[in-house]
Symmetry: C2
Subunit: 266 residues, 2 copies
DNA sequence: CCGTATTTGTTCGTATGTATT
DNA sequence: CAATACATACGAACAAATACG
């Protein structure tokens, strides 16, 4: 036997999808029962074929309506300059709207907690039991969930702000110009550099739910961690941003490069 | 029923793996038959549990030896400055060896072809039927497959080189200092900037085989495309590099940031 | 080199639960 | 409430790849 039957079925379904014969518009693929009949395979074999397509992000099944072809216009995230994961919602919105899509941002959820999670303490170089303030926001494009972002500030910084009467970091309101700008205005602290770490991992339960990813964890997510540094290379804040890989792409420009073509086309 | 049985089994296996009770050393997990007995579940349910772990990159099964715990030290790819995907094997080797790991590079496979694949023609801004030269190399760390790299040069550039008697781009030999440097030396063409595009997608058949990824496509790959530009922002070359996401991580530094701790520790 | 045992891969069948329409 | 469609679970059989004597 050359190829397993479930692969042959999966390949045939994929061919039909690419050819536009299946899954056009809002219609789901034929049900498992129908496929069972048309391919002469048992239901479990059909399910294996569909699982193979699901793992590759080609289809997605929403019980009990059926299995749908996934078609997503990727959003291109420009990482030139200080852009990208900065946490400045105004910059994010203007970039999204430049390609005729609509950006929205949830109000932040504010938390004060021990920086016990190893990575936060580590990257903010906080000793032992220090506390941090976190601001967590959800971002949407055209109403679809697009990214999750959490920024951590050392509590010592927040207290310095409070002493000057600057309380916006504690408000559950968006800060369009970004928290870094706010720190600079009120404390004179400048972000002189930053480090981005980018990795890919399977989504956790929260992420799966928010992004409406398949339960089986087959669509991975980008996790980007931007640590900002002030004078003496001391860490200023840590911003963690989560993007599903299936709807995002990153672009970095260095030196003299041509303009990017207006994206957003299918 | 709170959680499905296969998830309970998967969670229990994961706990035991994290606690070091399972999969230590070179030993595989207990066989499906043994797990069947110890969990009182049918073989298919056991297989569902293992599939759940496989999709998350926690285990990998190699028939018919068994299922093994995956333990990989990620390699951190620094993207500061011109580093990263440049195609300079010397730079790559020194970065890898700085963390006490051994880098090797295959001899390149040279091909001359029509730039028919849409993306190549598009990014090199080549008209219609123009030809390109491609150099394809496989890179290893500690003997394990780590990345695949292909660089495309417009054939017109290659011909200019040949007229000056510079033939190394056609040799199936590594160019440690990189093809860009070679172009500059012999044609005086400088790369004044570049654009990196980074996206994540499921691996194709070749990639699955080379990297020894699970057949089910559950481990995604990074695809990075670096287009280099010379004067007048004309494209000079396109380098496509493929990394499996499970063994790589990217770091970008901008401005003043502290030194990175020596990585490579487990 | 051969045959056997082990282990996973694939496929079938069947039954029951659960969520949506 | 009923019908539909997917999710979970069990059992069984044969195939394919590898290890070992």
């Amino acid at each position: 036997m050359a190829d397993p039957k479930y692969r042959q079925i999966a390949d045939d379904l994929r061919r039909k999808i690419d050819a536009g014969e299946l899954g056009v518009g809002e219609k789901p693929l034929p049900s498992e029962k129908e496929l069972e009949a048309s391919y002469g395979a048992s239901r479990n074999t059909i399910r294996d074929a569909i699982k193979w397509l699901t793992t590759r992000g080609i289809v997605q099944t929403r019980p009990p309506q059926g299995t749908f072809v996934v078609r997503i216009d990727p959003f291109i995230i420009a990482m030139d300059r200080t852009n990208g994961f900065g946490g400045e919602s105004a910059a994010y919105a203007s970039e999204v709207e430049a390609i005729n899509r609509k950006a929205t941002v949830s109000k932040p959820r504010i938390e004060i907690q021990q920086a016990s999670e190893a990575h936060v303490a580590n990257e903010l170089k906080i000793e032992g039991e220090a506390t941090v303030l976190s601001r967590h926001q959800q971002r949407y494009i055209d109403g679809l969930p697009w990214s999750l972002q959490t920024t951590f500030y050392p509590m010592t910084l927040v207290q310095s702000l409070l002493q000057k009467g600057a309380t916006r970091l504690l408000d559950a309101e968006d800060i369009p110009e970004g928290g870094v700008q706010y720190l600079q205005e009120h404390l004179g602290i400048k972000q002189l550099g930053f480090r981005d770490e980018l990795r890919v991992r399977p989504p956790d339960t929260n992420e799966t739910e928010f992004f409406d990813l398949p339960e089986d964890g087959s669509i991975a997510i980008f996790e980007t961690r931007r640590t900002g540094f002030e004078e003496d290379k001391r860490p200023l804040r840590l911003t963690v941003t989560i993007f599903p890989v299936d709807r995002n792409q990153f672009v970095f420009d260095v030196g003299e490069v041509p303009d990017r073509p207006k994206s957003g086309a299918a």
